[in-house]
Structure formats: C-alpha cells, structure tokens
Symmetry: D2
C-alpha cells in the first residue's frame, strides 16, 4: 500500500498519491506533474485515476497533462462547470484502486460543487478524508470567492458540510486537506502538518461556532482576492497543458537581457539584501519564498518574464511560475548581477535600514513618510505605527497613487521582505528616496512614532 503526500512549497499545496496492488490515484495534482510520473514508475504502480476536490483557483492543476502521460481518468468536482475534459463526480460515487475504496462526499462551501473523498483502509475502516479547501488544519476554506451575494449561501452550505457530513465521520479519521499553513485559499491555518477530525473538532477556532448563524457570521468575510485567481479558474476549466516539458529558459548575456527587458517584466528572485545591494533598474523583487504568494498580485500574464537569480537557481523559480500559469519565461540573466556589473550595465540600489536605526533617526527629527504594508490582521495583533500610512502590500497596485511622491519614504512590513516588494514596485513607477526597513515590531522603539495597540 502506498500513501504519499506531495508538498509544493510556496503554494503550501498538498497533493496525494494513493496506491495498492499496482494501481494508483492522485488527488489534486499540481501542474508540474513529473513528480507523479516518476513516483508511480519507481513504486511500480499504474496511475488509473485523478480526482479533484474542486475547481482550483490558486494554481493550475496538472490533471490533463498527467492524464495524457499516463492514460489515467480525470474526475472533477464542481461538475456543473463547463470543463473541456474529464468526467463529473457524483455525490456518493465510489472509486477503487487495488483493494482500496474511496467514496465521494459532496462538500459545498468553498465552492458550490466541492467534493471530499473518504478513503477506507484495506480492512474497510474509514481512514482518511481528503477535504480539499473545505476543512483545513485550524481553518476552513474561504467562502467569498464568488462574491458577496453568493457568500451567505456558501457559508451556510459549509456549515452543513462540516457539521453534518465531515465531523460525523468520527474523531479518529485523518483529515488530508489540499493546503498547509500559508495558503491564499484560507486564513489562519494552523501549523500542525497532520490532523484529524477529532483535533479539528476540539481546537479549530472556526468549528467552535457550532450554531449555524454564528458560524456563518464568523466565516463570512470578504478577503482580498488575488487577480490571478480569475486566470486559474478559466484555465482549469480548459485544462492546462505544460507548454512542452518544463521550460528551460536560456541564459541571456547582459546586453541581450537589457534589450529584451524593454518588452518584458524583470523578476528578481534573490534574497532582499541582494536586491537592495544592486538590481536591474525596473525589476520587481520577489524572493523565492514570496513568489508563489505574491506573484499573482504583481506579475502580468501578457508580458514575458525575465529572471535575475543567484547562480544556478533557475529551476525552482521556473517551477513556481509555471504553477501559476506564467508560461512565457524569456530567459535569465547569464552570470547574474556580477556579469551585469562587469559589463558596465547600469544598476540601482535600494537603501535599507534596521528598524532600530530608523527609529533613532525618526526621533532625531528626520523627515520621513512611513508606509506600513502589513495586513489588517497584523495591525490588529501587533499594533499600528502612529503617524504611518497603511496600505497592505497586495493593495499597493491599486492604491499606490495615494502615497506622497515628494520626500523620503520608509517602508515597513515587519521583516523587510514585503517592504522590498513594495519598494521595487514603487521604484518602477518613478518613486525615489525609498528606504526599506529591516526588522519587525519588536525592534521598533520610537517615541515620535510609537506602536499603538
């Protein structure tokens, strides 16, 4: 028997490979599906089935590509949508792989046609439930993705799904969601990497509101919706194929890179200190760990991507772009920034300052506009900076014009990572004299601009 959880960092995405007696199925495959092909080959199993828990909005699935390569059947949830491939799962439908059995459970809430799949162990005991984005460790899926009007109904459905369908499976059943901690599809997921019905029933904050009205009020929140979700929704209906294989973008010598950058977007995935120290003018800073989370907010589907990375780091950014459907990657800077400088190309630096130093200067009377790009819940939890303008990072593209263009601007985010993203975006738009603040609220000790809880 095979049970393997495959984690895709960045998206905090979990897919699952389940096999028995030379047969296997995959639940919610990611787009770069080579891993499933490789694993089934190594384990000596034949992929028969691909099951989806819902029409995904935060990444492209690999279902069509994987089916093409293995001959597996694709079964959809959200079967009311106009898929161009695969078959629609019915509530209660059973699937078999080797001696194992799974049963589909219609689980509306996150989407109207979401499915969970209950897996019985080889001896027929209810064992694991694959809940997609419906029930996650410490959280439940967002119900706001289809707009404010649909939200109330979805929230009510979610209550029914969780309390009337999932919890009754029994405390001992292992819950296998589609995301771990840090996904855009849910907020407040817990850090525990494995969970059960029992643990969620006892300690998931959302599940403490057992009464329907209360539950609905609790989960009905409009959250920012990344603009790329729309793309994902459309392309997941069409069935995204890989361009060919995973792209292998060519190295571009500095002069060629510069010329091509005129009709492209330059993405710099180096750590923020490297970006601050020197970068290609007009490039966007999204370090590897930020790429999956914020790429969909800042990257344009209509322009090719040119990459600046540390040497030999190109495969991983490519994978992460592909998962979000940024298929046109024009190349990467050959030899990195060192080659760029060696060729005498122009670069820019972004000033960084520790929170400690900045506070000292603020208190010494330095004239500064402070821009805080943390999210609302962080402000609630950690306190506001008095005198600071607050625009959450993801709303910068919409609201950046409200930032005063004259004078020095210090950007704060609690570490420097998001501040550097914002700084790179603002630099593209012509703002100057930007300072990225390194370090968080614990290092922020200012009398003139104190933290207010």
């Amino acid at each position: 028997m095979i049970f393997e959880r495959i984690e895709s960092p960045g998206l905090a995405h979990f897919s699952y490979l389940i096999g028995d007696r030379n047969e296997a199925l995959v639940i919610d495959p990611r787009r770069d599906c080579d891993i499933y092909v490789e694993r089934t080959l190594r384990r000596g199993v034949r992929l028969r089935l691909i099951l989806e828990t819902h029409r995904n909005e935060d990444y492209l699935t690999g279902s069509v590509e994987l089916a093409r390569r293995t001959g597996a059947e694709i079964w959809h949830a959200d079967g009311h949508l106009a898929y161009e491939y695969g078959l629609a799962v019915e509530d209660g439908q059973e699937f078999f792989v080797g001696g194992l059995r799974l049963k589909a459970i219609w689980s509306p809430g996150h989407t109207a046609g979401a499915m969970s799949y209950l897996l019985y162990d080889p001896e027929g005991v209810p064992w694991m439930v694959f809940t997609g984005d419906t029930l996650l460790a410490g959280s439940v899926g967002r119900v706001d993705l289809f707009g404010g009007e649909a939200m109330a109904n979805l929230a009510a459905s979610l209550h029914e799904t969780i309390f009337a369908k999932l919890l009754p499976l029994g405390d001992g059943v292992i819950v296998c969601p589609a995301h771990g901690s840090g996904s855009a599809c849910a907020t407040g997921t817990a850090q525990r990497s494995w969970t059960t019905i029992g643990i969620e029933r006892r300690s998931n904050p959302r599940l403490q509101h057992t009464e329907r009205g209360e539950f609905v009020r609790d989960v009905s929140r409009m959250l920012p919706r990344p603009p790329y979700f729309r793309q994902m929704e459309i392309r997941n209906l069409e069935g995204a194929l890989l361009p060919n294989e995973l792209p292998t973008p060519p190295p571009l010598p500095p002069a060629e890179f510069r010329e091509m950058s005129g009709e492209a977007q330059v993405l710099d995935t180096r750590p923020l200190e490297g970006f601050g120290g020197g970068h290609v003018p007009g490039s966007l800073s999204l370090s590897l760990e930020s790429l999956s989370e914020y790429g969909g907010w800042f990257l344009n589907y209509n322009l090719p991507v040119l990459l600046v990375t540390d040497p030999e780091d190109v495969s991983e950014p490519v994978r992460r772009l592909i998962r979000l459907g940024y298929d046109h990657i024009g190349g990467y800077l050959a030899g990195g920034m060192q080659a760029w400088h060696a060729q005498g190309e122009i670069s820019r630096a972004t000033t960084t300052m520790t929170a400690h130093d900045l506070c000292r200067r603020l208190d010494d009377g330095m004239a500064l506009h402070v821009l805080d790009v943390r999210g609302q819940e962080e402000l609630d939890r950690e306190g506001r900076l008095a005198r600071a303008q607050h625009i959450p990072l993801t709303q910068i593209p919409e609201l950046w014009k409200s930032i005063p263009r004259d004078g020095r601007i210090a950007i704060f985010c609690g570490s420097g990572r998001r501040a550097m993203i914002a700084a790179s975006y603002l630099e593209q738009r012509g703002l100057q004299d930007l300072i990225v603040v390194l370090g968080g609220v614990s290092a922020w000790q200012s009398t003139s601009c104190p933290i207010e809880i």
Copy 2:
C-alpha cells in the same frame, strides 16, 4: 515545523524527526544514522534530543553514534536497565524542542519500562503519540519476550497502558508506532500506514477485548524468538557505534572469494530464480526482502559475511546487515556470478518447479517428500498439505535433522522465497535432490496430496 517519518524497509521500522525553530529531536533512531544528520543539515535544525521508546530487541539503535556526531542528549526508556550511556526518562517528564512540547507516558507492556511520548501541536493541542512497540496499527506489541513467567504481568500492564493511558488521550490523536506492517515485534499489524487512537479503538482486533482477563488471554502467546534478539538487547545497552563509517566491502575476484569463503559465511541476496539458476556452493539464499526478516535466524555473528549480489547492489544489503549488527562484511563477489562462471569456478543449481507441475507429477505417482515451511497461522488460514511434513522456516535450524535424507524433497512455502532459503540451508548440510516449489496454495491442485482446511 518539521515532522518526518523515516522508514527503514525490511525491518518495517519507523523513526521520527520532529523539529521547530532550528531545534530537533529524533525518536528511536536506526543504526545507520547518516539520514538524520543529512536531514537536520538540510532543514537547518540542530539535533538536541534523542528519545527512545524502549530498549530495542530487533535492531541496533543509532543513538550513541548520532549523539557523537551531533551532540544531542540521549534519553532512555527502560531506565532500570544498566545502560552504559544516556539518561533515564521519568514518567511525566517533559521535553521541549523549539516551541513544541512532549510528555513521557510510562507504558509498560511490551517491556517493563517502555515509554510513549505525547506531542502537543504548536498551539498546545494533544496531537501525536509515539507508542514504540506498545500500540501499533491493528496490533499490540509482543509480551512474551521476557519469558513465560513475565508474560502474565506484562500483559496485564499492557492492558492498563492501553485502556487507562493511551485510549483516554482521545480518538483524534495520531498514533505513531515504531513499526509498520511486517515486523518481528508484533503479529498481525494492519496495512494502514497511518493511524489514530480512534481508528485503533474501533478496529484493532486486540483492543476489542476491553476486559482485562480477556485481553490478557488474547495477547499472551509465546511466539518464536529470533536468536539475534539477545545480541541486540546486549548491544543496545552498551551503545553500538558504527564500525567507522558505513562499511564499504571490497570486491573480491572469484579465486580470492573462494579462498576467503572457507572461513566465512556466503550470503546470496539475489532473487530466488537467480540463486536457483546457479550459486556458489554452500551459500545461503536470503534475497534483499528476506534479509532483515530472516537474517537474524540464519546468520552467525562469529563469521564474516561474504556477499553475492547482482551488480552494483551492494550498499543496500550492507545497510541491512549493519542494522542487525553483522559488522564484519569481508567483501563481495566482483563481477557477480558471471565472473564466477567465467573463471571456471564450480557452482550449483537448485531445481525449481511450479506448484502446477509438481502436483501433476505427484499425481502421476512421483516419489517425493513434501516439506512445508509456512508458519502455523498460514496453515490455519490457508490449509495444510495432506502428506506434507511441516516445519516453519525459522525452526529449520533446530529441526532439520528430522527431515528424511534419502529421496527427493519438494519444499513449499507459498511463493518459493522461503523455500529457497530452506533449500540453501539444507544444501549446506548435505541434503540433495531438493526441489523448490514456485507459487502458492491457489496453484496447488493435487488429488494425491490435497489441501486440507
């Protein structure tokens, strides 16, 4: 947060790496502990603690070696024993790693001083319990290892441990045992690779006997005790170090191999068909998948091991031997059997026959002694062969003299794998005219020697 289960095939052994905020601990490390060093390095954590659930009897732990390489502290269960290293855990003792907490639960049963460790999730919820050999998926640990007299007390303790300590943790708690399906430390383990208190409470056959007396009767069974267990028990008190690094035995040209084999034991890990087709006279057949399970019954600690493998297959047999403490590996046959034959060395073949053919010949009146080496529970489940002598494989070293030495002997085990082990052992002792039967009871269709249920 890091949670990783590390599986050692063959022994069906599970060890666990748990980490948080740059700190980590390992539970029940195996002897070839390079994997933990490599993982902690890759994950950026420092190993602080090594926890043992009991004094192991079926493999050598890597605790001392791992502590030497990382500086971690070793904490023992079964602290009443005379360990030459490490510290003894107390019931209720707490351990911390990053922001995580574990609590020791004294869990006598499999051994008198076994400990379970309850892990709380980052938010303080009881999350996982590491039960060692006390509670396994579908089974409980053996209570017969300390002899018939101790058995009753241990069985009663086990009842208390399970019903008064472990089950009350709650159905939702995930159970992480030290073994999966196929270990010598328990019988009847289920195939499900992950489990919970709730699943075990509902479906573990042993746990259906909730009443103490009934439970004690059910679990009190004397089972065969592999002779190597004694070695493991002693050396696990001493604290086994690796010889140096993992040994890298030299390739031996055929003539050198032959000469050295005079004072060594030759172990052939090729698939049984290869062994049957031609092998070094006097060698023992233990294919890779049999090695961990049966090596401890048939290999001698006082003789060096010489290996015959398929080309480039030598690392994995070496690891498996080392886990059992067979440290002196003299070399392997350079170029495999092909080189052996090319040099004109003498080899032997073992006749194989499918069950179908053998039955036909039996029914045609061929004179044959049938030796069945299956275990008692298989006979009970699948039926006996009328007219066959029955000696379970592991008792062959003790009882082989009862096998008639004149005439042809067909050895049956349900597949051929164990029959070939037996045949190689008997061939070493001078028996001839041996036939290994390929295939199982479903293929056995004989009227003269039918299956009797």
Copy 3:
C-alpha cells in the same frame, strides 16, 4: 569553458557537450536527449548548435527532439542524403560557440559524406578532433555498410581521410570518436578511453598500413550487418522524435501480462541465472548488458515489447530500447517473476551446467550435440571445440534450422550470456532439452571434445 563527454553504455556511444560564455553545442546527441537539456540548464549555457558527424546507422539521434526543446540549429554530415530537417555542413565550414571555433573536415570512409570537426582551444590552438566513426581508439570505422561494390571506394577514401587529413593535424591533437570499446560500428577498438593522433599513429593496428593498397586490403572486410541498421538509417533521415517523453510503461499484473503477451514479444532483461531459474514461456533473454548489442538482431519492430525485469529496474531497459527505436513498450510484469509464480502462472526453466561438469559428462559418454555461438574471430583466437557445430549468435535467426532437433543440445559461448540468448530463441521455436554452458574455454577440459587451435 565546458567540455563534457557523455557516454551511453550498451552502445558504447560518446556524444560531446562543448560550451563557452553561455553558449553550447552538442555533437552526435543520442535519442534520449534529456541529459543535454539538463546539463545546459545546470551549466548556464544555451544550446545553439547540434553537429552530426555522419548519418548514424546504429542508434537514433536525438537531434530533432533536442532542437525542438532548445531551439538549436541542426547541421548534418552526409548532406547528399534526403534529410527532412536541418542543414548540410560544407567542407571547411566554421562554427562558433562563445569564443571557440570548430572547422568541418570532410572525412569520407565510413560513409561518403562523413565530417570530422576540429576544435581550436580558446587561444586558437588545434585541440581536439571529433572523428565520429571514422577514426576510433585502435580502430577505424567499417567501410562495408553500403555493400561490396561501394566498399573499395570507401576504403580508398578512408585512407585519404586518415593519412592526408587527420594525421597531419599533429600528434598532440586529442581524438574524440563517437564510440568507445564495444560498438557495432567498428571492430577491434582499444580499451583506452581517451586518445590522441599521436597514440593512434603509433599504435592503431589499422594505421600501420600506410600504403594505400595495403590499407584498403586490410580494412575491406564484409562484417555482419545488424538488420536494425536499415531502420536507423531511414528514421535518422526522417528525424526521430521521442514518442512523447520517455515512455513510462505500466506494470501489468500476471494475468494481464499473459493475455497481452499473445500479441507481443516478451523480453527478459534479468541476469542469465535468473532467466535460467525460471522465466515466462516464450520470452527472449537479453540481459541489460546484452540489450544494446543484440537487441537489434532479435527484436521485432512490429510487435510491442513486454518486459520482465528485476524489481524497479525498468527505466534503464526502456532507455536502451528507445535508443534503438523500439518505441512501443506495452508494459512490464508487475512484481516480477515472484508475482508470476505466486499467481500460479506457468514458467519454464533452462538447464545450466558449468563447463567443467559438462566436459566430465561428455567424456563419460553422454550423448550431446554441442552448439558453439561464438564469433569467428574468437574461434581463431581461442580455438574451436572439436565436434561442435558453429553458428555465431547473430546468425542464429538465419541458420537455426540447421540445428538437429532431436536429442540434447549444449550451447557454448564462453560465459553463458550469449548461450542463454540463443537458448531462449531456440526455445521459442520449439527446441527442447537445451543446456546452457556456464564458463569459458579456460574451464573447458574435455578429452572427447577438445579445443583445437
């Protein structure tokens, strides 16, 4: 600067990756070209050029596939042929990659339009010459591939190429041929894995005949021509693409395997002892090391291939089949022979006997027909077996009907490997009572059937 030789075992094929300043070229890529894509990505170079030394006859090139994946240009030798892709190289044409220069040298002999490529080092010194199948370590390419009439002209051209073009490059130039020791494109290649003009001039036996007539006589020999060469020649003009990616054949449970085998050819790649010990009836024995060398003589392009391998060994046989254009691989036996036997499927064994034992029995008067499948040059070198019938392995498909069908047949080849291939082929055709002799002439000590030099 990058210089990498990529070896494809089995075919003893060498291809070369050469790069400088972010650009690269490949000479004579093999069909499974993932390795070049992976290397160029890792080395940070862009593949610009694919150069071929001649229209290959012994394997499928990966030129078209590699060009599709990287955008590189393909340049052909043998440009007079009707290629469906790429461009024809002219004598003297120069190629540039980074700061490196190569010059094409028309090198007829092995084929009429073969090209060598002289590479200058970064400072302009003649450095390496890529000679394809024209000049190899210790040998020269065959001149008989276009039939007896063309042979004399090709041999004369080869003399001119070697003595007037290649040797004058200077003793210090490094020779990089397309094949190492053990290829079907040349005989008598030396074991030295790297060589130079100087070493070849001094010690290549063919190059000691400097006078044209003498040289032509020496090299003009009609050798066996593997039937698959014709396929390779045609498909290399068309430009073979990979079916998709490298195929990942499915595991087939025994019953399904048996059913499919009715319209397929079963290929068993296990070591010969395993095949001898038990195999699927009707299967062909070609162990992994024999597959590239003999597959093209024994496998049929019009039937799917079903594989029997040792567990988890399936990728490498698949690669080797794909290199020869056997693209339709229907699957492999799930669980190997052990599963086959466990399901009660019928198998056959092939008797093996050491040379030593066989000779003893021969001398004791056993009635035996001895079939020797060694090649003519081995007979010349090692001696004939008196009383044996001699048919080289590769001529068995043509001449097997001349083998007497009644009585026991012992097949000898000097090790057992080729004898087992022959035995499996003859078994397919209904011959019985076959004995494969293990071991070589050094172990053959018979008075009744002595070795005659």
Copy 4:
C-alpha cells in the same frame, strides 16, 4: 577500465581515479575524500594505491583518511621530507593496478622531489602522464615556494624535467596535471581543460624558451605566497584526518550567533550584492567563488569560523573550508540575514556604486580616495587608474595602514568582488565611508581620473 578526473572547484584541483579489473588507484586525493569511496563502491573496484605527485602546499590531501577507510597504500613524492605516514616513491618505480602499469618519473622543479607518473594503456602504449604541479596546460609550476635562494636551482631542475623527461614522452601523450585554470600554484594556466605533450610543446608560452638560461629567467619570479601554505605543508607531512566525518555545523539563532561571534570570525559567503545590502557587523565577505582563492589570506586558523550564507547553502562552504584545514566551524546563522533583522539585531550596509556613476561623480568634483586592489599583471594589461592608490587585495592585510582614514574611499577591482572583500576587511579595522565600485575598466570613463596604459 576506469579513468575519471575529479574536479574540486575553487581550488581548480584535479585528482584522478584509475581502475582496471576490480582494482583502483587515486592520484592526489583531496581531503574530503568521500567522493573516492563512493565512486569505487559504485564502480566495483577496490582502492589499492594512493599516489602523490608532491607534498602539496595549497590544500590538505585526503591520503591518510582515504587509506584509513579503504586500506589502500600511500606512496609519497618528496620522500626526503619527514612524513609521518606512507612510503616514498623511487624514481622509475612501477605500480600496477589490474592490467595497467604506471611508472614514476622524478620531476624536480615545483618541489625538489616531485614525481610524475606515466600511465601505459592496456596494450602497453605510453598514454597519459600525471604531472602534478610540474607541467600544466599553458603554464609550469611555481619555483619560488622555497625562497629566492632555492629558486635558481629549482628552475634549472624544472628545465631538465620538462625538456629532458616530459617532452620526450611524445606529442601524443595526454597530460593530466593537478590543477586547471585558476590555481594559486601556477600563473597563466590556459583555459583548455584537457591537453597533451604536443599541444604544450607547441603553445605553452613557458615552453617556447627552450634554452636553459632563458627558461630559468622566464620562470624565476617571486610571487605572493599565501600565508596558509605554511599550514598546509606542515599538516600534509603529519597526515591530516578529517575531524570526524565532514562537520555539520549547527544553526545558531541570531542572539546565540552574536554572542559566539565575540570569540570567532564571521564569514559571509553570500554574493557581494547581498553583503553590501546588509551584513553582520565585523563579518568578512568571501563569496563562495572567492573562498578557496582568498580564504587562506584572510582567515585565521586560531579562531572558529561562524558562517552567514543564503539559506541551505552551508555544505559547500564547509567543504571548501575543510580543504584548507579550517576545521573548527562553530555554526551558521539560522534563518540567514532575514532572521537576523527580524530579531532586531544590528546590521551594516556597504555602499556600492557602478563604475559609471562613480566616474560621473568624480568628474563632478566629488572628493574621493580611490583604492585599486587589482594585481600588478592586471594593471600592466588593463592600465592604471590615474590618482588611485594601488594595493593588491592579498597585500591589504599587510599594507592597509597606508590607506588614509579620513574621507570617503572608493575601492575598485574590476568587478566588485575583490573590492567587497577589501571593504569588509577595512570595515573590521574601523574604516568608514567605503564605496565598492561595481564593474570594470570597460565601464570606467572618467576625465579626472583616466585610465593610463
């Protein structure tokens, strides 16, 4: 037959594994010798011999460690030195491995007792010569390592070695030196990665001076001698063992790192832009590609090293430190600079400026002291900066006090890499207002401080 060249980047070091018929030898193994153990195991050969070409001065050999792990014999060149292990090779001594033969050729010049080893191919043809640091592609070994007095004699010996011993081996012989392009043991090595006697005879600039006096004058140059050479020489006589296995330094949370740094040296191996953007105060910038080349000039053997790296990059810096004998590595900064900043620790930035910008400011009259850290030969080749102070990077530790401490200092090196090393060193010593110039002479366009050829 096995012939493998193993390259150690950074040191540009080549070692060689040569094997035949299950036996192997290694020439000049590096200290982290796991690679040889792993290769011999994979190739099925037993390591019998370790040959050294001379007592190495630029890295620690792995001979003793490798012998301990494999049982191989160690044979020294420079046998007049007081080695504490191994045996001394005699001129003309022969070694055998499988069917291969090597002959030692006494080759004084780089050291007094250097040996070359001539390898004959399996057919007895002189094939390859392993020349250590005596003859390299495009260069010859330094003769100044034993001081000015010994230099004349060594230079004369080198003339004899090359012209009377090596060149007569014949143009076709392949030359296998101990270093490729970029080693501290020779200057001006060519980029060609493989070479022959013939190529060197024709195009090695040193070898164009065939007359002894002329040759001696040409090669007799006192070059900077890295201070760590002395350590290497001593420890290579003692026979360096690895501390245990390769060290696996622990991750240190920021506060612990800061505390430990008081009695340690902090080494930052990130790319220079990252270091410039923000670093631990007092840390030394040596990016991964600079570490082997400059580590021996700037690191102290008496202080533990603490590392700052990009995430998960720690193994490679550790290997490179170990090769130079920096065995005491106290740990690395857990979570990198991001964690450092998040904890509110103090950091420093180093100002960078492109050459283009700097020149503009210089010409606008900005007051600046320009420090040029290029080597003398670069100045000769590329021109001097008028008005700049010139101190080659490796002489900074000796001469830094001559740098004016008041006012702004711009450091130029042609790319920024060496300038950042110098800046970090000067910052440690209290200099402030340092600017690292990015880009080279081609980008330097200043009228006030022009380039003078």
